[in-house]
């Protein structure tokens, strides 16, 4: 069993990754979380559901991960007073997720230290909750301006800089409140929720197939990761395994997504330290990857290439040759560019030491994904819980311990080369012919499944609950940005204001993925 606790009875879920689910009482929540935390585990996601139609109240759901796998726990809560014990004192990252769960569903953590709203601004009343099944949008609407009590920093010469939601570049909307003394940043407070467009509610009126398309648009830069995680969750509920060819193609798509995003970020990181040469060069390479995607798979970002039960795009033999050539080109060019970045004194001067997160702090904050790996947090779903075909690929995890911008750049370079190696390996093993998908029209009733995929940014989780007719009752997509945004507030401390764009870019977190 992945966790030992007398009141915990876990059932193993079918599917691609080792995962368990179980029900616990509110009183057992903190001891079990403490147990997982002390054993080196982390909180991946937290969400709630309205189960009143099944004759219950509400439920809190958490997804934990430890060395054994993914553990999804449900805590039934009474409809009259849907409260649960706060877990943000054990996992600090739970803070925003708990607040979001209140904004959307009205379930709350008692003893929680921070009860400010998170995803809600002024679009609906504080007393109405969109994810409740009886939510009525018209009377809940308000046009109130958002007022949010930011933490004030006082002292001689301290002033605030307010940035956003509309930023100076082509960036998603969010608000950053800096407290500064001269050029030095003392504190950053983030305010998000601007792109909240009701994704979770939207899932509930969709079929399994429509939901796949929506999952692929939670965060456009991670469309493959989300689509795969969603399909994995559905396949777990239905206990079906897609054909081999589909799994190999999914891994190919996921690595191509990683390659494209890492190329783009490496270009922008050069640009942000005034080496526009880096942007020009890396974006030529990225454009070539995107054009190959468009020509071979019909979409530059591979949207809608994954469907429940398999894939919707195939690769023929001539296409393989194109991709082998692409691999050679990228390996050659990126090696030259890496050399140029590493020898460029101006670039290294800006990268090294900027936006540092020490490994100890990273562990405390539950930092994940590539930013986590740059601060010694050695978690990579492809390595720890390799689903097919990663179980045959022996993925090499890139980790580094400096935790600064330079470390996040190095991890990107390493992962880029590793993804190119994986792409070669996948292409070599992808035999012609074979089925692309199995029919998966509808899910069994009252099922639960979870899928977790290592996207380029970090672990993407999608959880699906079905109702008594097998329809989507609740879908929760979770972005690794929930984990890493709070860490950015720490990373910038003591740095100067002009380094913020660089530090922010080195994380490159999603707004849409966390605003939902």
């Amino acid at each position: 069993m992945p966790i030992n606790h007398p009141n915990l009875h876990l059932t193993q879920l079918a599917g691609a990754i080792p995962a368990w689910s179980g029900k616990i009482k509110p009183d057992d929540l903190q001891p079990i979380c403490r147990n997982v935390h002390d054993g080196g585990g982390r909180l991946v996601a937290l969400w709630g559901s309205d189960d009143r139609e099944q004759g219950n109240g509400y439920a809190l759901h958490i997804a934990l991960v430890n060395e054994a796998g993914l553990i999804c726990l449900s805590v039934p809560l009474p409809a009259g007073q849907p409260a649960y014990p706060d877990i943000s004192s054990i996992f600090p990252v739970a803070n925003r997720m708990q607040r979001a769960a209140y904004d959307l569903l009205g379930i709350y953590a008692h003893e929680g230290r921070d009860h400010r709203k998170w995803l809600r601004h002024g679009a609906w009343h504080g007393g109405s909750f969109p994810l409740r099944k009886d939510f009525d949008p018209a009377p809940s609407r308000t046009d109130d301006a958002d007022s949010y009590p930011f933490v004030q920093v006082e002292g001689q010469g301290v002033h605030e800089i307010a940035v956003g939601p509309v930023h100076a570049g082509t960036i998603e909307p969010g608000h950053f409140r800096f407290s500064v003394v001269g050029e030095k940043m003392l504190r950053l407070e983030e305010r998000f929720g601007y792109t909240h467009k009701g994704i979770e509610k939207r899932f509930e009126s969709m079929s399994l197939q429509q939901g796949e398309k929506l999952a692929g648009r939670v965060s456009g830069d991670s469309t493959v990761a989300y689509a795969w995680a969603y399909a994995m969750a559905a396949e777990s509920i239905a206990a079906v395994t897609p054909p081999d060819r589909a799994l190999w193609l999914r891994a190919l798509f996921l690595e191509r997504e990683r390659i494209a995003n890492h190329l783009g970020d490496l270009g922008y990181l050069g640009n942000d330290v005034a080496l526009s040469f880096g942007f020009t060069q890396f974006w030529i390479l990225k454009e070539q990857v995107l054009r190959n995607n468009g020509a071979l798979f019909g979409h530059r970002y591979l949207m809608d290439s994954i469907i429940p039960g398999g894939v919707a795009a195939d690769l023929a033999e001539p296409g393989k040759r194109t991709l082998f050539e692409e691999c050679s080109l990228l390996e050659r060019e990126v090696r030259v560019l890496r050399g140029i970045y590493e020898e460029h004194a101006g670039v290294q001067d800006r990268f090294i030491g900027a936006g540092r997160i020490e490994p100890r702090l990273a562990a405390q904050l539950g930092l994940c994904g590539l930013a986590g790996r740059a601060s010694s947090q050695a978690w990579d779903t492809r390595v720890q819980f390799p689903c097919a075909p990663y179980d045959q690929l022996d993925v090499q995890m890139a980790t580094y311990r400096n935790g600064d911008v330079a470390a996040r750049v190095i991890v990107r370079f390493d992962e880029l080369f590793e993804s190119l190696r994986l792409q070669r390996e996948i292409l070599a093993r992808l035999m012609p012919g074979g089925q692309l998908s199995l029919p998966l029209e509808k899910l069994p009733a009252l099922g639960f499944g979870a899928g977790m995929v290592e996207g380029w940014r970090g672990e993407v989780l999608v959880a699906i609950h079905t109702d008594k007719d097998g329809n989507l009752a609740r879908v929760h997509p979770h972005d690794p940005s929930w984990q890493n945004w709070p860490a950015l507030e720490h990373a910038i401390m003591g740095n100067i204001v002009p380094d913020f764009p660089l530090i922010n870019k080195s994380f490159n977190l999603s707004y849409s993925g966390q605003d939902l």
Partner: protein, 180 residues
């Protein structure tokens, strides 16, 4: 430095030819006079506003700046403030939380100003909104106002999920060229 210069020379020029304007993309009568077009014709400043997109359209707007599309070579530049802009490029179904910011950005853009709605969601609310059944869509939800035209006047729409950089460029060029 030697490596860097060698790489630049080796890379050469990658820029593709720009697409022609497409009259079918125009949705409102052009409000611009010949002389203003003359001014815009030689240089255009764009302010991008993400009003709630999934970041897919942003990826393609970024790609417009790469060497293949070379948007600056056409005299088109992305600027940091709406006060410097001739055109707003708006993406996303407009989330209710972005309405104020979008309106303020629009108000801060000096007249005459153009608005190009980029992507399926900006055109009709896209996958995030339940369609309200009206002939041209524009669906809304508790969290979203749907298409951009529900919030600010739009001159040209460019569909696609996301539209390719060429389609975006075509939309921009359509907005600035006079309707014959």
């Amino acid at each position: 430095m030697y490596q860097l210069i060698k790489q630049i020379i080796k890379t050469g020029i990658k820029t593709d030819a720009a697409p022609l304007p497409d009259e079918t993309l125009r949705v409102t009568a052009q409000r611009l006079h010949e002389e203003i077009l003359h001014v815009f014709g030689s240089a255009l400043n764009i302010r991008h506003v993400d009003a709630g997109s999934c970041n897919g359209c942003e990826l393609e707007i970024h790609a417009l700046s790469n060497a293949y599309y070379n948007i600056e070579g056409l005299g088109i530049k992305f600027v940091a403030s709406p006060r410097h802009a001739d055109m707003l490029l708006v993406t996303g179904p407009v989330s209710r939380h972005m309405v104020t910011a979008l309106r303020r950005t629009f108000d801060a853009t000096p007249e005459p100003r153009l608005v190009v709605a980029i992507g399926e969601c900006a055109c009709n609310g896209g996958i995030f909104c339940t369609n309200d059944g009206s002939p041209d869509g524009g669906g809304e939800s508790y969290a979203s106002c749907g298409r951009v035209a529900n919030v600010i006047p739009v001159d040209v729409v460019v569909g696609g999920c996301p539209p390719t950089p060429t389609a975006i460029l075509q939309g921009i060029l359509t907005a600035v060229s006079a309707q014959k």
